[in-house]
Subunit: 672 residues, 2 copies
């Protein structure tokens, strides 16, 4: 049931200028409505609120909501699911992409209140209830006098029945307490004291890729067999098949724009590049153009378009890196010198975090007096690539730009293209990371890379899934990036690569790897988290079939993700008791438990561990004491399990991971 | 440090129309500032917020606050107490009674940011920092150009020093990084991007009695030696000494107004009172007057005034019952028939909750079209008694009146008399109880009466002390009321009375008993929680020295409360591990642990229980492994305790309660 209410939402007369109905604890809600909640289109959003009033009369409540881009509000009735706590629940079908607004309205239902009191009197066999019956009839008469469209006829009919029965209290009660009569009068009755919660809450309904996706990061220029020649978009096209076969959904490209020459960096971030050094792709802009051009060595815009189409044919999307900074050769550096920070001597200041210097990069001053045109230029960059079919942007260092810029950029782009996804690459303090997500970033990089122990992983995932964050912060668990080669991968070898990949891919519906991970590349700058001979400063040619690669393992994990809806959602995660500090275990289930997956990972890349794993039967939809089969989606082994199960994971001779799908209850149990 | 800022809070120029500084998680705060926080005058209110900005520049934060009844805001700087979480803390001294407003402001401190960066450069021994030094000097020059009162001279001096040192980076840094220079520039520097959190938060600073107090409830008419003659205020005066000796702070009187004659109730709520039946004091109003008169049988208004004064001489306050309802004989019933609910036949409707009937009471219709004069009349009632020196009102059934009425009444009365206390007697669902407290009720009745087991008590107190409720909901734990004689008291005899009293008096800084409790009166209507021959309908003459009374026990408990600050606060409560389900133990401490009290109660009124009690040393301010003395404030026994201690409580031969004060660490331990 749903009906449109007029836009003038406070049109009811006789409204009192004081609080009668109390509406509070509206959920979902981020900071009381200051920031939007995130959801996926097609979902039913469960909305709850506490709604009540003084005295004994009956309250009613409804969700009032407005679809993206519209003005008029529709209304969906809520149900009182917990009378003791005055808790009402309703649901809101998110049918379209974009920003829904919703709020809760509450009012007193005099007809239902009257029916309830009359019922008490009839039960108590009170002798004279004629006056009470007259009151109820008068109530319906008042409604019948107002024109109400279709419902008006029904009100007239109800009135006739009540009048006809008026001398027989039990008959009056029968007529009045029917579900039809109550629903009718709840819908058309007076709402003299209607209250509306403020402010409206906003829900962003996004496409599924906003939540679920396996990402593969690469440098186009490295997709070449010859280190002396830059790889091109055409070369990169040849790799798409393999990336697709491994099961990835998103191909994310390090910046593809022209690279500056002034102060270009050589290998390992050395100042003073040689003539053949390609420079850092994050030093954006040259005589060939800026953020809306492609580096000539990679090909042309047409080649790029072809690459995007080729990925699309395979069901994959291309994500671009949006890094708002300039090489000294960027067209903006001479067209808009006032967009940059200037030193007292008038020169433009390059990026610096003393003692570190980034002589090849000029940061932009987002708070310049000419900020409006600077901001507009950034939006035009996004629009340029959106027009070429790009719908995913990985945003570099958003925490160094004003937070208000992101609110504006994301809102205005998504108003035009609600399918655009922004991933925040903010490796900074928790408050800023949360704040960026609240301002609209679709997904966020996380601290996953630095969470290694069972305790660290459990605490972090509990925070992400069980706090307020679950409403607005969607993680994307990258196992490595061109900037981060975590210590566990440096020392743990292939078992560590497998266990970290399995953790990322099963703990978070969105995760990613940076190319080379599948080859277990782990040469680091000593005592640093950085890659030795980083691809950021040179072309890297790889043998993608080198011995020891874990492409097959990755393929199987991605397949498990694709085939199990339980792994395509985030918040329904429960850690399981397993009595070994190096073994971590958890279960994910769909709400109806039709799909449950149990994951066990050995965090120790060197030694086998074994333990008893406790699985509470209700977590996997099994009756207490019941047994069931599990099937390892990686190795294919099957076991019959119950509440306590033996598990052993030897990283030396096998995969350090089990991904068990729970199969239907075994026949013997089901029959009981 | 504190300074007045002009009222125009957004006067800074160059303000950008987008979010730069982020201010969030302001605490304390109830529902994001929708409702006031509660505090006690004289306290330092700790205020916290998360304040940060993009990039590397330094943020600053301050509490901006406005005392009761004023318009101008003052500012107190905050300290960054957790840089990783951008957590700032400040404090606000509540010097006056009334409603303070406060909020948080944040801004960028360009001088501190410059000092920080210069320090990095000097540490990195960068060769040429002349340009950077010039920037800092320019910054100070800009400030020096603006007239700044006293600080202006200091800025001039700083500028001179910097210019003088300009060619020596290390000296510039010395001058600029001094605490004086940083504080000076933080105070007077530009605040181009100042942001202010909205809305303002409100804190009600109330007097100590709002939080702490032992209440004694009585019917004036029962304070007589002769059941045939109503007790009077003069009679009641004679009982004040004893109530005072027992240690009570508040004498709360059942309604003292004229009692109606129409449909007056006889003993045990019988319809049809005899000529000598006094009727229910809650059937307010007769030819002798309404809510601003006193029942002639109790004496005169002058007698009442004398009673209030006599209580005051003993350091006690008188609390009145504010029950907004009328007997059919109330003057309002004929002066304002439109204030009442009318049946279709034109008669006024009496109170009813079918099958229960209250023929002697007319409820008032607070939503009547003439609501303004009805509300005003209620406020005049409160003002009338306030003018006679009453400052505490126990409000009967507030949950049956519109919640907006209470907001208005309490705010407007407290604007005139911020020392007035309102206690909400709302025995209803949790949402309404919380809502009333949020709308301004100083204290609230609770579910304590129905929380008996260790689990029930622990859960309930944890909710009250550890959730959001601790900010706005102040409990008053009544052990009994004229309406509630809980089952445990009906069956548990004297030990139950003692244990329930000790629980109430030590778990909550405000608690109360209804007279007769000290005599362990426990005759109930069978299978009900109601008193047999309830004092609500008849005069009750008691022998206050009857054998088996627990007046001495009550006296010792109230003395313990008075002598131990730990028992005069609510939220710093920690339950202790004690391995017996009938023994409950907890500790309360002052923030500095100079006063710690450990309470152990045997919940079983019939059988002795013994167990080992674990006391974490940090809870009582003792070093790990240290021992200390405890002194039982009820019996005077002393023990030397450590982390694990044997406890035995036998309700048959002794008190079922220990109230241990923790004494200073014993000599041997202190010397280590």
């Amino acid at each position: 049931m749903k009906k449109k209410r007029p836009t003038a939402r406070n049109a009811t007369s006789n409204r009192r200028p004081y609080e009668q109905l109390v509406i509070q604890d509206v959920r979902p809600s981020v900071d009381g409505g200051r920031h939007p909640v995130k959801a996926i289109v097609g979902e039913y959003l469960i909305v709850e609120a506490t709604v009540f009033r003084h005295g004994h009369d009956r309250a009613r409540a409804a969700v009032r909501w407005c679809p993206p881009g519209e003005e008029g509000f529709a209304e969906t009735p809520m149900t009182l699911v917990n009378p003791g706590l005055d808790l009402w629940r309703g649901e809101l079908r998110l049918e379209r992409l974009g920003r829904y607004r919703f709020t809760i309205v509450g009012w007193t239902d005099p007809f239902a209140s009257w029916v309830e009191e009359l019922a008490k009197r009839v039960r108590a066999e009170q002798a004279d209830v004629a006056s009470e019956i007259a009151e109820g009839i008068a109530l319906v008469e008042r409604v019948a006098k107002r024109p109400q469209g279709e419902a008006w006829r029904s009100v007239g009919a109800l009135l006739g029945q009540l009048r006809h029965a008026a001398t027989e209290p039990a008959r009056v009660l029968d007529v009045a307490s029917s579900q039809e009569a109550l629903a009718l009068m709840a819908g058309v009755g007076p709402r003299d004291d209607e209250a509306c919660f403020e402010p409206d809450q906003v829900v962003i309904a996004e496409r599924e890729r906003a939540c679920v996706g396996a990402w593969y990061e690469l440098f186009v220029r490295s997709q070449t067999p010859d280190p002396a020649r830059s790889g091109t978009f055409r070369d990169a096209e040849h790799r798409l098949d393999e990336i697709h076969r491994m099961g990835f959904d998103v191909v994310y490209l390090a910046p593809i724009h022209p690279i500056g020459h002034t102060n270009r960096k050589g290998p390992n971030n050395r100042l003073g590049a040689g003539p053949s050094d390609p420079g850092s792709p994050w030093a954006i802009g040259s005589q060939a153009g800026g953020h809306t051009a492609v580096e000539p060595a990679l090909g042309t815009l047409k080649d790029f378009d072809r690459f995007v189409r080729a990925a699309g044919v395979l069901g994959m999307e291309v994500a671009l890196d949006f890094a708002i900074q300039c090489s000294p050769d960027h067209p903006w550096a001479h067209e808009h010198p006032d967009w940059f920070y200037r030193r007292p001597d008038g020169t433009i200041r390059y990026a610096e975090n003393p003692p570190k210097k980034y002589e090849d990069i000029y940061p932009l001053n987002f708070d310049t007096s000419d900020w409006k045109s600077l901001w507009e230029a950034q939006r035009e960059v996004v629009r340029f690539w959106v027009a070429r079919g790009v719908r995913i942007f990985r945003v570099d260092n958003p925490h160094t730009k004003p937070i208000g810029f992101w609110t504006w950029l994301i809102e205005s782009i998504q108003a035009e293209h609600p399918d655009v996804i922004f991933l925040a690459e903010a490796f900074t303090g928790p408050p800023m990371m949360k704040a960026l997500a609240k301002r609209g970033f679709t997904q966020s990089y996380t601290y996953f890379t630095w969470r290694n122990t069972k305790r660290e992983l459990t605490d972090y995932l509990t925070e992400l899934t069980s706090t307020d964050m679950a409403q607005y912060f969607r993680p994307n668990f990258f196992v490595n990036t061109p900037d981060i080669l975590p210590p566990i991968l440096q020392v743990g070898g292939c078992p560590a690569f497998k266990s970290r990949l399995a953790l990322a891919a099963t703990l978070s519906p969105a995760y990613g790897i940076y190319s080379g991970f599948e080859l277990c590349e782990n040469a680091a700058v000593p005592d640093r988290e950085e890659y030795l001979n980083s691809e950021k400063y040179e072309i890297k040619v790889r043998d993608w079939n080198a011995p020891g690669n874990i492409k097959d393992f990755i393929t199987r994990v991605n397949l498990a993700r694709r085939e199990n809806p339980a792994l395509q959602q985030f918040a329904r995660l429960r850690f399981l008791e397993i009595d070994d500090d190096q073994l971590i275990a958890y279960v994910k289930s769909t709400p109806d438990k039709s799909n449950s997956v149990i994951i066990v990972v050995n965090l120790d890349p060197f030694v086998a561990h074994e333990a008893i794993l406790c699985v509470p039967p209700e977590e996997v939809g099994v009756d207490p004491g019941g047994s069931y089969d599990v099937c390892d989606l990686l190795g294919g082994q099957r076991y019959t399990w119950s509440e306590r199960n033996y598990v052993r994971l030897d990283p030396v001779v096998a995969d350090p991971v089990h991904i068990f799908r729970v199969e239907r209850a075994s026949r013997g149990e089901a029959a009981r």
